[in-house]
Symmetry: C2
Subunit: 409 residues, 2 copies
């Protein structure tokens, strides 16, 4: 394993002071799945009456826990629910033993908390292709159940980390229908994929009272606009999982017409998503790629991802090089509609290129000054239509190579 | 500009002894387009009666010389033809001035050699977005025309290099229809894109007598099976150009039924394509990704490119890490059909994974031994159908980051 010693230069100053979500309790423990000297399992319990929604990786080789979650999500139940997560081993590409391991862990949680197995969701993140030492996790379930605490979310955020250099949390409170509801979430991820296939996991909770189908619709929409708009290295994991639980403990009912709640939810998702990018492997720059004027939103997204995933664009940013030619290249190769002579390219508010050539007002030092910032915006207007998309990414540095190549597994 | 000091460890021992192609003459010169102390322009002249075929980048932001070639290719003519190439400046994204510069250069060649302008093809490779100093090239045209020589192909291979660490040449002689015909070609490229957008250029010549349409069909087919099967960094250039001229000087007629000729042509193309990969920026490993058993050839190609372009697969190879989990990941994310439990993965002849899990016979040291080789084959069988594809690529190393990030333009 690579040693990750330094905290990302893009990390927030401190972990946020997350509010308690009534009806959700957390516990974490050191089970020794793979790491020594740190917590690596977290358990969350949601009170009876809670609903759970989720979104999952579309990888054709997704892990056993993801397949198990997909089979369970969407069921209605008045029972409580639980989420059990381990780091250190992803239980992916583990054949028949992977399914058995997932069932052993979720079964143990169900027995300890008096829940149906169908209400216990699990995630695993870490090395791929090695059998999950599920006995080590099961051995800690009773302790975890006994330690459940409304204030335990900070420890949970720590326990799910793999090569993350900082734990990730975000929260919002929104006034809706005469009452206050609160949202709090945690995430892990250091790149879309970190070494050994550790990947992105997100758990978000609210005390709003909301129908499961409505929650799922909000979660899916917000995921598309946040987590599905980030990329570190274009590599999609076998384990990506987002689960959201709503306990109803606030007594405030929320429905699809409550756009303030949906907006607050999206804000929390976006905050967590951007923290994942800021902890991207080796990242030294946070980059917003904003594409407008495309023939369609889908075309805008294709262009934005082509720019954000281009190794040459990402290495230019790492070198603080305002190399707009590489952006032209990435637009050209994307496959979506583009007209060279209608393109406008901006770094921040500096117009770099327009009408098929470098802008008359542009000077190299203007672009160079933009590139020195820790947070950079690349703006592209295609001049073709109303399609728009925004993607968040980071640069590609020696740090990424060191983390992913400079060791033997 | 990055300093490229070391010859690629994957370079051939020496430039091959290329045979003379009767009817083609070459010259090269130092015009000072961007580089000092080296040649940077090459001129090739094809005798009257020659036919010319070509394939070009499909980038939506392709360069002025590419657009000019596309407009000219396909015309029939009894005149001779010429190819003029400069390195140091790609004349891409240069607006109206780019077209004027291309016309100035091709026009000067046409006048010097007594050719119609429609028979003068050009390429430019190097920095993007800066006006081509065409006057410096035009100033050398008369000297180039006077120096044309049948033995000048070695100098031509040198003059078209940008960040290449070695010149690239390949040749074949094939007995067909009672006579011998010869094929010889040169290429440049150090990655699909080298720093500052220098890109892949290929020029191949034969003394076979062949109809233009037949030559174009063979060139297109061979390109699909060779140059379109390589990737260094997934970044597609704005300047990729392949031109092939047939002089007929051998007096041997070749048609579409002459599969030996088509095969020799493909062999020369593949040799040059693999040399480009072996000179990939920072490359230390040459990797063949061979996918079989896919639902279709297109699916096989999608999987093979997903593996070959994955930063995590490429960094694992750089680290000599037999990290087959990342190959599972790349298959899972590709979007093409895959069944986790039917997958077989091999390193060389070592079966690593099968039936959804690590192979019972596999030991880590077997994979590690494969990874130590300079040339590595990753074999994937999907177990779904007869689709197959092979892609050639290289690893992703600190050298790539150094070349592309560790300098300011």
């Amino acid at each position: 394993m690579a040693k990750i010693t330094a905290r990302s230069p893009l990390a927030p100053e401190a972990f946020p002071d997350l509010p308690v979500i009534r009806g959700v309790r957390f516990a974490s423990a050191a089970a020794g799945v793979r790491y020594a000297g740190r917590t690596d399992v977290m358990l969350a319990h949601l009170a009876p009456g809670s609903v759970v929604a989720g979104t999952f990786t579309r990888s054709a080789t997704r892990s056993a826990p993801v397949l198990d979650c997909e089979a369970k999500i969407g069921g209605e139940s008045d029972d409580g629910a639980a989420i059990i997560v381990n780091s250190g081993n992803s239980n992916a590409f583990t054949g028949r033993s992977g399914i058995e391991a997932t069932q052993a862990v979720t079964g143990a949680v169900a027995r300890a908390l008096g829940l149906p197995e169908a209400r216990v969701f699990s995630s695993s993140t870490g090395v791929i292709g090695e059998p999950l030492p599920w006995q080590r996790i099961v051995a800690r379930i009773d302790d975890l159940a006994a330690a459940l605490d409304e204030g335990g979310i900070d420890g949970a955020a720590q326990a799910i980390m793999t090569t993350d250099t900082f734990p990730k949390g975000a929260a919002a409170t929104v006034h809706v229908n005469g009452g206050d509801v609160t949202i709090a979430g945690i995430a892990k991820g250091s790149g879309m994929i970190a070494p050994d296939m550790a990947t992105m996991l997100v758990y978000v909770f609210t005390d709003a009272a909301i129908a499961r189908a409505d929650l799922q619709a909000m979660v899916s929409r917000a995921t598309d606009r946040t987590f599905n708009c980030i990329t570190v290295d274009s590599d999609t994991s076998t384990s990506d999982t987002l689960l959201m639980g709503a306990t109803g403990a606030s007594g405030v009912a929320v429905g699809p017409e409550d756009t303030a709640f949906a907006q607050a939810l999206e804000d929390v998702f976006r905050d967590l998503a951007q923290q994942v990018v800021k902890d991207g492997e080796g990242a030294t720059k946070f980059v917003t790629v904003a594409v407008t004027g495309a023939a369609s939103d889908a075309d805008a997204r294709t262009h934005a991802l082509s720019i954000a995933n281009s190794p040459l664009v990402k290495t230019a940013i790492a070198g603080e090089d305002p190399n707009w030619g590489r952006i032209v290249m990435a637009i050209g190769k994307s496959g979506a509609a583009a007209d060279r002579d209608r393109l406008t390219i901006r770094f921040g508010d500096v117009v770099v290129a327009e009408r098929g050539w470098v802008a008359e007002t542009y000077r190299e030092e203007m672009g160079a000054a933009q590139m020195k910032r820790p947070e950079i915006t690349i703006g592209v207007d295609l001049g073709l239509g109303d399609g728009r998309a925004t993607i968040w990414t980071c640069d590609l540095t020696h740090g990424y190579i060191s983390i992913n190549a400079d060791y033997r597994s």
